[in-house]
Symmetry: C2
Subunit: 222 residues, 2 copies
């Protein structure tokens, strides 16, 4: 009987117990599934570092939003994913996130390239089981809502550089245009130009920022 080791990291204790319960009941060939858990960034990091020294987890489930207990600086699950990739490159990584936020999904798919990505509303015992099996045998596994985000992106002929994406992102979270220059290495003039350019790219010439944001959302950029 072989053992399949899973680490689940989520800051909600109860949901994590739910995962543990479901995952350990999966019947999977001659595997015995064991789930370890962690519910803070720090605890998760420790587990991963430990595992790098001894056995490596087969799969790491990782919540996108993780807030460490006694700190202000919020470490994201994304950071932990990047770290895990370095420390334990052989472990499969599956991200879980509450919403199908395209900007975040796109960003994580590029920075971590996880073996799976599940939007939480897609998660149930059946999909969890499928995710585990798929990720082991023929990754990747993307849940339904993650797939529609990915589809939007792939169906796109517009290519934006990093600055364009950042501008869109900041606009979408309500950053004032004049404050964007604090986050991006560009003059205010350039940012205005780029906004105009973006609007024309998305066919929203002479329209307001809201129209631009909606169009960019529809195309899967934010």
């Amino acid at each position: 009987m072989k053992t399949l080791r899973i680490l689940a990291i989520d800051d909600h204790e109860m949901t994590m117990l739910g995962y543990k319960f479901i995952l350990e009941r999966i019947v999977f060939e001659d595997y015995n599934i064991i789930v370890d858990t962690a519910n803070t960034y720090e605890a998760g990091r420790e587990r991963i570092e430990e595992s790098a020294q001894s056995f490596a987890y087969d799969i790491i489930f990782l919540d996108v939003q993780l807030f460490p207990p006694n700190e202000n600086q919020p470490h994201s699950g994304e950071d932990l994913g990047i770290l895990a990739r370095q420390l334990v490159p052989n472990s499969k990584i599956i991200f879980m996130s509450s919403f199908s936020d395209n900007y975040r999904i796109n960003s994580i798919l590029r920075s971590v390239d996880p073996d799976g990505y599940m939007v939480k509303t897609d998660i149930d015992p059946k999909s969890l089981e499928e995710a585990v099996k798929t990720v082991i045998f023929e990754p990747p596994y993307y849940s339904s809502k993650a797939l529609s985000a990915i589809r939007k992106k792939m169906a796109n002929d517009i290519t934006l550089d990093e600055n364009d994406k950042k501008i869109l992102y900041h606009l979408s979270i309500g950053t004032k245009t004049k404050d964007i220059e604090n986050h991006i290495q560009l003059s205010s003039s350039s940012i205005e130009n780029r906004k105009r350019h973006l609007k024309s790219l998305f066919g929203k010439e002479k329209e307001n920022d809201l129209a631009l944001i909606l169009a960019a959302k529809n195309r899967g950029f934010i």
Copy 2:
């Protein structure tokens, strides 16, 4: 008892019969599944045009490679897909292709944005059934090998414009560099520059074209 109408277009008569046989046996809620078939571009086009006038097919399965019988000019399944999208926008489209050719997949995902994409070696009764159900309820459905191609693309931080992609494509099919200028609106000098630039992007400075092509293949561009 409702009816689910499917049109399958593939130039291999026998494989198409296989699809018909499998698809019509699918047990799917209270649907009765009926499969029409066509095995040339022309026949497929006619079926689609007819259906635009009366009922619309719920799903159209479409082979990527279609050669019409009495013509030299080969129409691709991609063209037919684009046509179908215009004529019967409500029909779900599922592409089937023999190999996981990234350039082709990327191109079709952009031009047609099909509701499904299956690489033929992934196709079996089970996956066909899953494709049908997924496409009806929560598209898209991408088969395993299609997903790994998509994953490569999404994990990429390199963005290429249309000319770069064309250059890579032509190199990959063996077009001589000096002949590429016939296909792209650029001077030979620019093409050389772009090739150099591409090689440096993919970390293959001073290496030959083969190295570039392999790197681009690995990243899912061709």
